[in-house]
């Protein structure tokens, strides 16, 4: 199966790989997995005044899963959490030209950012 240039670019030069301190108050952590293939993804955000100022990820999985999470961390930096919540897997899949068999990788990335936001909101009394 051929990967698109964008997938290869994110796979070979993943943006924002790493960790934030999950115990910090401003940090939200989302950990999700794809049971069908065993991929696991951790995506973390730092939020200040409702704006995502930093994002990091660690993904153990295929190229498409790594590219999807890398792309999402790029996108969400500078976004309001309300807007980041609206990110759809279809946008990720479209940007990376993912083939149908790899759509679940973009779903995983959407789930990860939503889980990270939910974790942050939980720490702050889930005002939404």
């Amino acid at each position: 199966m051929a990967y698109s240039d964008k997938v290869i670019d994110h796979y070979e030069n993943p943006r924002n790989v790493g960790s934030l301190d999950k115990s910090e108050d401003e940090v939200g952590t989302g950990i999700v997995g794809a049971p069908a293939c065993g991929d696991v993804m951790k995506l973390q955000i730092r939020v200040e005044d409702d704006v995502i100022t930093d994002a990091k990820f660690k993904t153990y999985g295929c190229g498409s899963a790594i590219a999807s999470s890398s792309l999402v961390t790029e996108w969400v930096k500078g976004m309001k959490i309300g807007d980041a919540m609206q990110i759809k897997n279809s946008q990720i899949a479209e940007e990376l030209s993912l083939p149908p068999v790899k759509i679940h990788c973009s779903v995983l990335a959407e789930d990860a950012i939503k889980a990270a936001i939910a974790d942050y909101q939980k720490k702050h009394g889930a005002s939404e």
Binding site: S19, I31, V32, G33, P35, A36, G38, D39, V40, Y60
Partner: protein, 194 residues
């Protein structure tokens, strides 16, 4: 047990219920994880012979097509049933849960969040270990290998007890652990990777 293969003459294959046979029925076995290995081999060979396209080379187009489809189905059934893990996953699928699907109702069940967190944290430790030498890696490999065996044993117990849900949950854990084990093996093979 139904062994129909031998009774068929070379040119009259009944297309009949081709699609309706599950892999166990196709190879004349009782449905269940514990199978008679000898019967599996014998029945597969017998059916491969009787359904072989060469045997039907002179028959009409329809019979030739059926022979081809049946041969492919026999091979697929054998490929799945001879492998203990594939066999277990197939039984779960027959029970209504497809581990290759992410459908929330009929797809692979998600493990506990704590399990996923552990899978991430163990990856962090693996990264530290790759600089810590071969012994530590080999030790971790043994540890994960044992866990893999243990969750698979849990899955088999569940299948024996007819509990598809529990079997599916254990087999999903097995897939995550298998993925981790593959990464450990990769780290062992290329110790200089960062």
């Amino acid at each position: 047990m139904t062994v129909a293969a031998e009774s068929q003459s070379a040119s009259e294959l009944d297309p009949g219920l081709e699609g309706a046979l599950d892999h166990f029925a196709r190879l004349g076995l009782e449905r269940g994880w514990r199978i008679d290995r000898d019967a599996l081999e014998d029945n597969y060979l017998a059916r491969s012979r009787s359904d072989h396209p060469d045997r039907h080379a002179g028959a009409d187009a329809r019979t030739r097509r059926v022979a081809l489809e049946r041969s492919a189905a026999n091979n697929e059934a054998y490929r799945v049933l001879r492998d203990p893990v594939r066999r277990a996953e197939y039984l779960v699928k027959l029970g209504g849960i497809d581990l290759d699907s992410s459908d929330p109702q009929t797809g692979a069940p998600h493990p506990e969040q704590s399990f996923l967190i552990e899978m991430i944290e163990r990856r962090d430790r693996l990264e530290e270990l790759t600089t810590g030498g071969e012994d530590a890696l080999a030790e971790l490999r043994d540890e994960v290998d044992e866990e893999l065996d243990a969750v698979f044993a849990t899955a088999v117990d569940a299948l024996d007890g007819g509990d598809t849900q529990a079997a599916a949950a254990a087999l999903v854990q097995r897939r995550y652990l298998q993925r981790f084990l593959d990464e450990i093996d990769a780290a062992i093979d290329s110790p200089n990777q960062p």
